[in-house]
């Protein structure tokens, strides 16, 4: 699927060992510091939420998650549901590596499952704007910018 693929892939190098990056991904206090307030626990099958300011009527401020994979300090995945019907998965892979002579961790993130051919996701997404175009994009940007501003 070249053009219809619907996932976001990020690759980030951090000059710290995998165990430290793993802690930042799996400790609820650390997660709250860089991502969002949460009740995450590093337990397979644990259901938790990320919480942020609601942006009515598009987003009630709650992202519903469940730990799907947990292999310390290499792999972590959780479902990511919220924001108008979206049903996606966030997966992290940590690999110890060296870049420019500096030892550290390559963190690969894949946020997959964005599927506007799924009627539930499409319906939810459309409800954010009542249609396509600039209004929808600014509504989504407002929601995400609110989350970004969270301390």
């Amino acid at each position: 699927m070249a053009r219809t693929e619907s996932a976001i892939r990020t690759e980030t190098f951090y000059p710290y060992p995998p165990a430290r990056v793993w802690r930042a991904l799996t400790d609820p206090v650390a997660l709250a510091a860089w991502l969002m307030p949460n009740d995450f626990q590093p337990v397979l099958g644990h259901r938790f939420t990320f919480r942020t300011e609601p942006v009515p009527p598009y987003f009630d401020g709650v992202v519903h998650c469940e730990v799907l994979e947990l292999d310390s300090p290499r792999t972590l995945a959780y479902s990511w549901r919220g924001m108008a019907g979206m049903d996606t998965v966030v997966r992290w892979e940590l690999t110890g590596t060296t870049r420019d002579g500096v030892a550290g961790t390559l963190l690969v993130g894949v946020h997959s499952g964005f599927d506007l051919t799924d009627p539930a996701q499409l319906g939810g997404f459309r409800s954010m704007s009542g249609g396509w175009g600039g209004a929808m994009v600014s509504a989504l940007d407002t929601v995400l910018a609110t989350i970004e501003r969270e301390e």
Partner: protein, 105 residues
């Protein structure tokens, strides 16, 4: 009335056609072979894709070549690009967090 872009890409054959066209423009005959379909069946799918603004056609001599319309899938890209920006911001925040807490654990 333009065809709904997501109705157009909901069909797996049409997604397959888009993926082939992403590599290079092709004629109806060239598209029919890999899908073991008749030319009229392919033409029908191409009509849906064209009405959704996903595919355009050009003439090359006597042949008609179908190709991806550059802006067709932009709406899907817009949805993803908002999240892409979200994660880049958050991953930068993770870097700052790691730097600030360095030596504390």
């Amino acid at each position: 009335m333009p065809t709904d872009v997501y109705a157009a890409i909901a069909d797996p054959t049409r997604r397959g056609i888009l993926d082939l066209l992403a590599e290079d423009g092709r004629s109806v005959t060239e598209l029919a072979a890999p899908f073991h379909m008749t030319r009229p069946a392919v033409s029908q799918h191409l009509r849906v894709l064209r009405e959704a603004g996903l595919v355009s056609e050009r003439r090359a001599g006597r042949r008609r070549i179908y190709q991806l319309a550059p802006d067709g899938l932009r709406e899907v890209d817009l949805w993803l690009s908002s999240y892409r920006r979200f994660w880049h911001t958050k991953l930068a925040a993770l870097g700052e967090y790691l730097a600030e807490t360095d030596g504390q654990d």
